[in-house]
């Protein structure tokens, strides 16, 4: 048996090493362990602190456990009874009081950091304000001070804290950008507030972290952090009217769009629409959050959104009601929606 316990220890160590070697600290735009924003840094610092404190506790318990199961095994042929030791007040006081002290010490940074991460409804003047509305299964981003509405890609300037107001149009979702900040739920009928900021430019992954229906796993978005100057340029691009289509196919697509799509999708970033606002759609990082943005996928999506995101019910499948040629033209039109 002794070798058995040892083997087990080796196995654990091996797994732990393999894990570290294989994964490192993960993808720099997805991992909470490579924070790129103040909130994520605070969280990671605290995660490490609690881990180290708990590793100490764990070490003590594991050591005592190992000694007990190795040293106090019954030897073969020994049928005598050990001393019937029923307790020891001193020991019991020690293992009650020490954990209380450890946890009391841990409580101090807990309160500090919990408050440090909280955001009330009084954003400071210099914060950029964004209203986030979660829908099954997409994200709407509104910049009330800039008069811009967009979807799926949340553009923010680096080095500035963004004040985020979260709500939902349907079920519970949760807004999570692992590398930038911890998550906060979007509750229908209520507004939650948090801070978001990126130290360096990049395209960070955003996730829905609350089960919200069949396509919960696909309800991704991106946070695009730009240098302040680039962000100014993006703002200007968003406010420009959509460029007129140049090719004939795209012109045909525009007509189809106006007949069949405009009721739900705007191409003008100043007005909210029922479905995702498609201003500068051609610049999106992904199609519907998770698929490569290309014509094939876009055609598939328009024909039947559920084929790419199961359970999408708010957008009808247009296969049959719009001809294949028109859908192809429509996709062409949408993809050229970008400012040079």
């Amino acid at each position: 048996m002794r070798s058995g316990w040892k083997k087990r220890g080796h196995l654990f160590a091996l797994i732990a090493l393999v894990m570290l070697a294989v994964t490192g600290c993960g993808d720099p735009y997805l991992s909470t362990m490579q924070p790129k924003g103040e909130s994520a840094e605070i969280s990671l610092g605290f995660m490490k602190l609690s881990l180290f404190v708990m590793l100490f506790v764990m070490g003590v318990a594991y050591l005592l456990f190992a000694i007990a199961v190795i040293r106090f095994r019954r030897r073969k042929g020994d049928n005598s009874n050990p001393e019937q030791w029923e307790g020891n007040t001193k020991l019991e006081i020690i293992w009650t009081v020490i954990p209380i002290i450890i946890l009391a010490l841990l409580a101090i940074p807990t309160i500090q950091q919990t408050f440090a991460l909280a955001q009330d409804d009084n954003p400071s003047e210099d914060m950029l304000k964004v209203k986030v509305t979660a829908h099954q299964y997409w994200w709407e981003f509104e910049y009330p001070d800039l008069g811009i509405v967009t979807a799926q890609d949340l553009y923010i300037p680096t080095g500035q804290q963004v004040y985020v107001e979260l709500t939902s149009k349907d079920v519970l979702h949760s807004f999570w950008v692992p590398a930038l900040a911890g998550k906060l739920d979007t509750n229908p009928g209520e507004i939650n507030r948090m801070r978001l900021g990126a130290n360096e430019p990049g395209v960070y992954d955003g996730k829905c972290a609350e089960l919200c229906g069949p396509s919960h796993a696909l309800m991704d978005f991106k946070v695009v952090a730009l240098e302040p100057a680039d962000f100014e340029a993006w703002k200007e691009k968003m406010k420009k009217p959509a460029p007129a289509p140049t090719s004939d196919v795209a012109k045909q697509g525009e007509q189809v769009f106006q007949q069949s799509c405009l009721a739900c999708h705007g191409t003008d970033s100043q007005t909210k629409s029922i479905g995702p606002n498609l201003t500068n759609f051609g610049e999106r990082n992904e199609l519907a959050g998770v698929h490569e943005l290309n014509k094939d996928n876009l055609v598939k999506w328009i024909k039947n959104p559920s084929s790419l995101k199961p359970g999408v019910t708010n957008m009808p499948a247009f296969e049959g009601s719009i001809s294949d040629e028109d859908i192809s033209a429509l996709a062409e039109y949408l993809l050229q929606l970008k400012q040079e």
């Binding site: 991992s31 909470t32 969280s43 995660m47 318990a61 456990f65 007990a68 692992p178 906060l184 939650n192």
Partner: protein, 610 residues
């Protein structure tokens, strides 16, 4: 098995349907739990298959959500819960020196309500799909705009089995408090019984909020009320509170019996009394009390504000103190002992390191600044599977190996048991240890897929391989049980040289448990008598007629009535609902007006038998 007493009926189907004997009800609970363990395990394997490689398309969308919901519901409500009740029924009356539970009829009713509740939830697969809103059944996703009839089956099925659970809580509380043998004071109770007291109290406080939450969902779905309809002023956050006011104590409802089991097994195989019994009783009660007031740690990301979050965070971490007391108490129970590593002891000992690990991640999760990142990721999945599989299930397997002789008068094969122990431990560690990395690497829980090349591929594959290793161990256990059932030989009494009252009974346990109620003279009652040179307990009464409860078919029919009524609700068929309620109502009337004084076992037959 029962040749001693002629008055006992033979084991026919009718006998099982009408029995009010706690020992038979125990077997029915254990058997039902075992069947659902296999079903719930298959769901888990299917999910791990889907997640083995990125962008897999085996089970996506709603299919996957049905699997994850049913896996959680089945494992918590229809595996862990009934197996615990199985051991309660099998052991507690024997540990307290009683001849049955306080309310045998209620006991049978509790089982059948549970049985038909579980059946109702599981047949949803054949009526338009299983529930798919997660085991938490959060509104608004659980409302009829978003999910199908599966949720109706779930809500009503849990309502039935929940009623059964509340009955068990009442029953065992009454049994333990009122039916203890002479001399068995509260501070002489075995720890398994002590934890059951605390759990019974938790059930009485925690299940009513669940009942309310489920009723509100049910009203919203079936009668079109607006409790959680935001457009009409409803508030889904209220549902989250109600659910977790139940949900967190539920964790302790499941884990405290496991702690009790450890506190029985470790002393026996270390040949020492439990170290610091009083501390253990206080710790158990404290965990129960604190467990009732920390539910918000499941809701740190709901947006309740930093004051609520830090208060509940610190309150939660405080539970680590009594839990730490327990862990060190167990270690020091083994300390200076003479440990025999039977299969039961192996499983019991393995709980200590695994549960310490679960406790460590538990404290990490309990504190909001870290939890904002950990919450609803695979870190949580890893954490609670360490609690449930490393802690609860391992303890239940230990209990099965330990108490099998009492329940079935057979022993499970020790050698096979040790093989399956290693499969279990290695498979378990492979599956769930790596999940603690997935979360911080950016993988939310309850997702049916993930992107490749983002640091998640290898660990997901490892996790899937581990899950299959674990299923080998479950298969071995099942085979071992089947082997013991058909090929096993009756065991000798007290095979482990144990300490508590249940082992003083000559196996097989007779229908009336104790021919004479024993007198308890010390905490480890049977050990005390053995040390005093006695082979048996000292009787507290002369040999006399034994009063036994009569069997009854009413609990079964009553539960069938509620089952039928539920169908009527789900399919909006009022006559069927009324018919179901009528069946149940008639049974209640019969039960109320029929005088049933039970029957007596003749002392002459007894003296021949014993």
């Amino acid at each position: 098995m029962s040749e001693h007493v002629p008055s006992i009926k033979k084991h026919g189907l009718m006998d099982w349907l009408t029995t009010v004997d706690h020992k038979k009800i125990a077997i029915m609970y254990l058997a039902t739990g075992a069947i659902y363990l296999v079903i719930g395990g298959i769901f888990a394997l299917l999910m791990r298959l889907q997640l083995a490689v990125p962008n897999n398309t085996l089970f996506v969308g709603s299919d996957f959500n049905q699997l994850l919901t049913m896996h959680g519901i089945v494992m918590i409500f229809f595996v862990a819960t009934p197996v615990i009740f199985g051991f309660w029924n099998a052991i507690i009356p024997l540990q307290v020196g009683a001849r049955d539970v306080a309310y045998p009829f209620l006991n049978a009713l509790g089982f059948w309500l549970f049985f038909f509740g579980a059946l109702l939830v599981n047949i949803s697969w054949f009526f338009g799909g299983a529930p798919e809103g997660g085991w938490t059944i959060y509104a608004p996703l659980a409302l009829s705009q978003y999910t199908g009839t599966g949720t109706d089956f779930l809500v009503l099925g849990l309502q039935l089995s929940g009623a059964g659970t509340i009955m068990n809580g009442i029953n065992f509380l009454a049994t333990i408090i009122n039916m203890r043998a002479p001399g068995l004071s509260m501070l002489r109770l075995p720890m398994f019984t002590w934890t059951s007291i605390v759990v019974s109290v938790l059930i009485l406080f925690a299940f009513p909020p669940l009942t309310i939450a489920l009723f509100l969902i049910f009203f919203d779905r079936i009668f079109g009320t607006n409790f959680f309809n935001v457009a009409a002023g409803g508030d889904p956050v209220i549902y989250e509170h109600l659910f977790w006011i139940f949900g967190h104590p539920e964790v302790y409802i499941l884990v405290l019996p496991a702690f009790g089991i450890l506190s029985e097994i470790l002393p026996v195989f270390s040949r020492k009394p439990l170290f610091g019994y009083h501390g253990m009783v206080i710790a158990t009660s404290t965990i129960g009390l604190l467990g009732m007031m920390v539910w918000v740690h499941h809701m740190f990301t709901v947006g309740l504000g930093p004051i609520a979050n830090s208060i509940f965070g610190i309150a939660t971490s405080a539970i680590a103190v009594p839990t730490g007391i327990k862990v060190f108490t167990w270690i020091f129970t083994m300390w200076r002992g003479k440990i025999r590593f039977t299969t039961s002891m192996l499983y019991a000992a393995s709980v200590i390191p695994n549960f310490v690990f679960a406790g460590v991640t538990g404290v990490m999760l309990a504190l909001p600044p870290g939890d904002f990142q950990f919450h609803d990721t695979y870190f949580v999945v890893g954490h609670f599977h360490y609690v449930i599989l490393g802690g609860i299930v391992a303890s239940l397997i230990a209990a099965a190996y330990y108490w099998w002789p009492i329940i079935f008068n057979r022993q499970l094969n020790e050698k096979v048991g040790k093989i399956n122990f290693w499969f279990y431990q290695i498979g378990f560690a492979l599956t769930f240890l790596v999940q603690h990395w997935m979360g911080p690497l950016g993988m939310p829980r309850r997702v049916f897929t993930y992107e490749g090349g983002r640091g998640l591929d290898t660990i997901n594959m490892i996790s899937t391989i581990g899950a299959f290793l674990m299923s080998v161990s479950v298969l071995v256990i099942v085979l071992s049980i089947v082997h013991a059932w058909f090929k096993g030989k009756p065991t000798q009494s007290d095979p482990w040289d144990a300490r508590t009252l249940e082992w003083s009974i000559k196996l097989p346990v007779p229908e009336y448990n104790f021919a004479q109620t024993p007198r308890v003279r010390a905490r480890d009652a049977f050990w005390y008598e053995k040390m005093a040179g006695n082979k048996e307990m000292v009787p507290a009464e002369p040999l006399g007629e034994i009063h036994m409860p009569s069997p009854s078919i009413l609990p079964f029919i009553m539960s069938v009535g509620f089952f039928i009524a539920s169908f009527g609700f789900i399919f909006h068929l009022l006559p069927i609902t009324l018919a179901g309620f009528a069946i149940a109502g008639v049974c209640m009337v019969i039960r109320s007006f029929k005088d049933d004084h039970g029957y007596h076992v003749n002392p002459n037959e007894l003296s021949e038998g014993v």
